[in-house]
């Protein structure tokens, strides 16, 4: 057997399958079934990491998911995962692991100098120290703190693995596969209930995997586990999930599980996801989360070689590893005596058991005594000696009233501590179950639950094995609705522990320099917690945030109860008066990859492609994202940059014709006998008099009176409107329409249908648009006289059904050809061919923006920001004065909505025609005003106008329409402020002659 601390014939590892992996570059040998921690401990090595703040050398305290110290980085390249618990990472051939938070090496770390400075780094140190001088924060303090803080480094390459998400439903979800969970799952499973049983470990069994003493139905605990698992596997209605942590308990019994599928495999199948998130909706949940042993708080309690007693038992029985040669046990609980007996039987010398209780007694104590183990009652540990490994413990008597006598040193290489067991309440608490303090046990237990959840076994303070099994069966039966469950006879077991201790151990002398850790992972000491209380923090939630105790990735699993007890002692109030900090998900850390699942890369968000996307790509268009849509921004020719391409496209539209894919416009069909009345109530405009075949610009306000959306509306028939919305507003407008229709105006007989995807829109704009289009539309007269601006016709184009709108967002003669999306490309190609001789040019969204800005057309969401009235943006004319009501009417009558100094839309020209304003720039009254000052307004749109040969901008300015011709200044980050003049927002063709051409 490799590893000098490996004990032949013990443990559940497979000695026939040696495994080699690397830790900090060194080759380590272990066996199948080992974790990184157990393999290193088998070599006698406890030092596995450095701590967060003081860079103290640390080794594993636990053997499970509660491990705060032995955090390692695992994997290489994009598969590197930081901050994994060495106590949970299963080894396989080729695994590469590194220690963290050390430089240059784990044994010698320069950051450990922080320990010398520990007296200068009290609780709230950052809050107190880095206040002054103020300018130092950005350049000095923050970079320093950022470099020093954090544990592992983030991976630098993209994650090459994939992650899965799975929804599941079941009758009974059992979280935790120890004795209570197995019993509950079997009881429910035999009833025929659909059961999911999950456990965070590689195998089921929980505490039984480390129990060589108990006998159930004459079987060893481990054999009984095997029998239970075998029966559960035979039940078709039971699903078993190992390496699967229940980490979040959501409302209505939705529990999230994180299943790790490949990390333990040397050669995972390429198509297998690395992890899978299960979203389980369970009719009933049984929590069998067990209990965690508490550490003791004394000076030097973080030295490598100091661990929980139960952890040493796990390493012995599960991994066949002795954690040291000579152990000192410090306990306030009986369970540690069983550990001492097991270790002694395996050949580990027990130097002494220091028991904090004055008169320890009972079967286990007697058994230890009978074995000749030295028991020191009423004894505490004053401090631990050693640096990279514990070398001794100073044990001292505790007299009446808690006075600590003179200590004596006991040499050892292992200190095992047991402060008793804390039930794991995390999931119960996440389920918003109440907690109640149990005086007899000195811990919190689950109280009344809100969800359909019940706890079983140690997580509700039931510790004796026979009682745990009965409790599990009862919970399983209750969850599945049955009465008769399995029964087992526990033929040998230890009596449950009594006693327990929480808080800082009593000590001799003031111990001003003592570092007695409460929260190992965040390096929070007993002194820090006491200081926080002395400085006036009373709420445990505030103490937590001030000291950061319980805020590390272990979520305070091992530290919360000790911190609570310290606060309780200092304040002289009972723990239940102080309460407990909120348990927050996740129970254990979950990788970002698992949360992201398939939603990454091109699957992060749906990509919506307009019908002419392929055409645009073939033309070499440059694209931009508009919401989920990918739209052509401009179509550069060889050698053109964006400015040149956009200028050419704009000139083409103004001089000949342009073609534009406007299919992303939102489209809603409003139909029904009451369609016109619905439109009257919904829009600020009046619709009753709009004739069939006519269009109108429509404006939507909220009931707050602020502009929400806009778009051209055409009347197809007396009872049918073709409504368009902005590209981004389509879903919102339809939802708002449905809201009012369903909840306010149930009297109206109207149907709303989204037709955004059904109608493609080909915008044909420019003075030659009619000339191009006329021969294509089947028998339709589109002459100026027959089809003036703001009219629509139904017909066909080359046999394809068409709704033809004569509308313009460019200021030129223009048409929007609506055709069914499936046939849009064919129509587009026909128009394109027909236009070739007329200089027809494709243009993109950028030219569209420039052209509309030249005409002073607003874009909702660019000029407006949710606080603009129609009047503010120059659309007061659209608001009906005669309708009795419409959405926004009452609000628009409020005095504040008509105040003269409201921001109003204006045009802005820089005095230097080639200077460009930036969108978002503030406009102020004078060239040189000391900051801070209030702005007169801000720039909302800014472009270079090819038609005007100069820059133009739109802005919202206080009382702007009354300030035409006056000047303002736009302060610049680099350079002097730009002088600007306010003008009418319509820069081009203000009479509209071209539009109506």
């Amino acid at each position: 057997m490799s590893g000098v601390f490996r004990l032949a014939g013990r443990g559940r590892i497979d000695p026939s399958r040696p495994v080699a992996f690397r830790f900090d570059g060194r080759l380590i040998r272990g066996y199948a079934g080992d974790t990184v921690a157990s393999a290193l401990l088998a070599e006698g090595r406890h030092l596995m990491g450095r701590s967060f703040k003081y860079h103290r050398p640390r080794g594993p305290v636990s053997a499970g998911s509660d491990e705060p110290n032995a955090l390692i980085g695992v994997g290489e390249g994009g598969r590197y995962t930081p901050n994994l618990r060495a106590t949970q990472v299963e080894i396989h051939d080729g695994l590469v692991a590194v220690s963290q938070n050390r430089a240059p090496s784990l044994r010698f770390d320069i950051g450990a100098l922080n320990t010398l400075a520990a007296p200068l780094l009290p609780a709230g140190f950052y809050y107190k120290t880095f206040m002054w001088p103020r300018g130092f924060w950005d350049k000095v303090y923050e970079p320093l703190i950022r470099r020093a803080a954090g544990l592992g480094r983030a991976p630098e390459a993209p994650d090459p693995d994939h992650y899965a998400l799975h929804y599941a439903h079941c009758d009974v979800l059992v979280a935790g596969g120890g004795p209570a969970g197995l019993a509950a799952a079997l009881a429910a499973g035999r009833m025929g209930a659909r059961v999911i049983l999950c456990d965070e470990n590689a195998e089921f069994g929980g505490s039984l995997l480390a129990d060589a003493y108990s006998r159930i139905d004459g079987l060893t605990a481990m054999d009984w586990v095997a029998r239970m698992v075998a029966e559960l596997e035979r039940l078709p209605n039971v699903q078993l999930l190992t390496r699967c942590s229940a980490f979040h308990y959501g409302p209505h019994n939705m529990v999230a599980l994180n299943q790790r599928l490949t990390d333990h495999l040397a050669m995972p199948p390429a198509d297998m996801p690395r992890e899978r998130i299960w979203q389980v909706r369970a009719r009933e949940v049984v929590l069998a989360a067990g209990a965690l042993e508490r550490a003791l708080v004394f000076e030097g309690n973080d030295r490598p070689g100091i661990m929980l007693a139960s952890a040493a038992r796990t390493y012995l029985h599960r991994y066949g590893v002795a954690c040291g040669r000579k152990a000192v046990v410090v306990t306030a609980d009986d369970a540690a005596y069983r550990v001492a007996l097991d270790l002694a039987e395996a050949g580990v010398k027990i130097a002494a058991i220091a028991d904090l209780r004055p008169v320890p007694g009972g079967t286990l104590v007697e058994a230890a005594r009978a074995r000749g183990i030295r028991i020191l009652p009423a004894t505490t540990i004053q401090r631990a000696h050693g640096h990279l490994r514990v070398t001794g413990a100073e044990l001292a008597p505790v007299g009446e009233g808690g006075a600590v006598g003179k200590g004596r040193a006991v040499a050892c290489d292992l200190v095992l501590m047991s402060g008793g067991f804390t039930p794991s309440l995390h999931l119960h608490s996440q389920a918003r179950g109440a907690l109640r303090f149990d005086d007899a046990l000195g811990v919190y237990l689950p109280g009344e639950a809100i969800e359909r959840v019940r706890s079983a076994g140690a997580c509700r303070g039931v510790f004796a094995l026979d009682a745990v099994l009965r409790d599990g069966v009862a919970a399983g039966l209750a969850a599945a609705g049955g009465e008769n469950g399995p029964e087992w006879r526990v033929t040998r077991q230890d009596a449950p522990g009594t006693g327990g201790f929480a808080g800082a151990l009593p000590r001799r002398g003031p111990g001003h320099l003592a570092l007695a850790f409460v929260d190992f992972q965040n390096d929070v000491t007993a002194k820090d917690v006491k200081l926080a209380v002395r400085e006036g923090f009373r709420s445990i939630e505030h103490v937590k945030r001030y000291t950061t105790t319980g805020m590390a990735t272990d979520q305070g699993k091992g530290s919360n109860v000790n911190a609570l007890a310290i606060v309780s002692n200092v304040l002289g109030r009972r723990p239940e008066e102080i309460g407990l900090t909120t348990y927050r998900p996740p129970y254990t850390p979950v990788t970002f990859g698992a949360f992201a699942g398939h939603a990454r890369g091109d699957q992060f968000d749906p990509l919506r492609l307009p019908p002419m996307d392929g055409w645009a790509r073939a033309r070499g268009a440059v694209f931009e994202d508009v919401g989920q849509w990918r739209r052509a921004r401009y179509f550069p020719r060889a050698g053109e940059d964006m400015a040149a391409a956009v200028a050419r496209e704009c000139r083409a539209v103004r001089s000949a014709a342009g073609i534009f894919d406007a299919s992303t416009l939102g489209k809603i069909e409003v139909a029904g006998p009451d369609a016109a009345e619905f439109m009257n109530r919904f829009y600020v405009n009046a619709w009753t008099k709009l004739g069939v075949g006519k269009c109108r610009y429509g404006l939507v306000c909220r009931d707050s009176g602020f502009v929400y959306d806009d778009g051209v509306v055409g009347r197809i028939a007396a009872d049918r409107f073709h409504v368009t919305t902005t590209t981004g507003g389509a879903a919102g407008v339809l939802n708002m329409m449905e809201d009012y229709l369903q909840t306010e105006w149930a009297d109206l007989d109207v149907w709303l249908t989204s037709v955004t995807e059904q109608w493609a829109v080909i915008a044909l704009q420019g003075p030659r648009a009619r000339e191009i289009l006329a021969p294509l539309v089947d028998g339709l007269d589109i002459s100026a006289a027959s089809m003036p601006h703001m009219t629509l016709r139904e017909g066909s184009i080359g046999g394809v059904p068409m709704r033809l709108f004569r509308v313009s967002f460019t200021g030129e003669l223009g048409y929007e050809i609506n055709v069914p999306s499936g046939q849009a490309r064919a129509v587009w190609d026909r128009v394109w061919q027909a236009g070739a001789a007329c200089g027809l040019t494709p243009y993109g969204t950028e030219a569209m923006h420039v052209l509309r800005a030249e005409k002073g057309y607003l874009i909702v969401g660019q000029e407006t920001d949710g606080t603009m009235t129609p009047g503010d943006v120059g659309c007061g004319w659209a608001v009906s004065k005669v309708k009795p009501d419409f959405i926004g009417k009452r609000a628009l009558a409020l005095p504040a909505m008509n105040a003269p100094d409201r921001l109003q839309m204006v045009g802005v020209l820089t005095d230097d025609p080639l200077s460009m304003l930036e969108e978002g720039m503030q406009l102020v009254a004078a060239a040189h005003i000391p900051a801070p000052t209030s702005a007169e307004g801000h720039v909302t749109s800014s472009y270079f106008s090819p038609a005007l040969g100069r820059s133009i901008a739109l802005a919202m300015v206080k009382g702007g329409r009354g300030r035409m011709g006056t000047g303002l200044y736009a302060p610049c980050l680099d350079g002097p402020p730009l002088k600007v003049t306010l003008v009418d927002p319509v820069f081009y063709d203000p009479e509209g002659a071209r539009l109506n051409g």
Binding site: R281, R432, I450, E738, D739, T743, R890
Partner: protein, 93 residues
């Protein structure tokens, strides 16, 4: 994730729904006082306890409906159609 019992479709996961705010807010006529309009727009009870609220099954049938939910526990006490009165549940609002 809440389990929401759409009166038209049955129980579905919360991701299929859009929240619609407090229910039974009556939109006043356009001639009410400024204070009444302000209250309609902005004043809500922010209930700790049983709240009548609106949901829309936006990725399902598209219908709005009302629900009674205890904001302390997320427990639903009733689902009912728009336009029908708030059901009596015997629990304090």
């Amino acid at each position: 994730m809440l389990l929401i019992d759409c009166p038209y479709c049955g129980p579905r996961a919360e991701i299929e729904f859009a929240y619609g705010g407090e229910a039974h807010i009556v939109r006043p006529a356009a001639d009410v006082s400024e204070a009444e309009w302000e209250a309609f727009l902005y004043l809500r009870d922010n209930t700790k306890g049983v709240l009548a609220e609106r949901w829309r099954h936006s990725h399902g049938c598209g219908r709005f409906f009302n629900a009674l939910r205890d904001t302390r526990t997320d427990r639903f006490l009733a689902f009912y159609e728009i336009g029908t009165p708030r059901p009596e549940t015997g629990e304090a609002a």
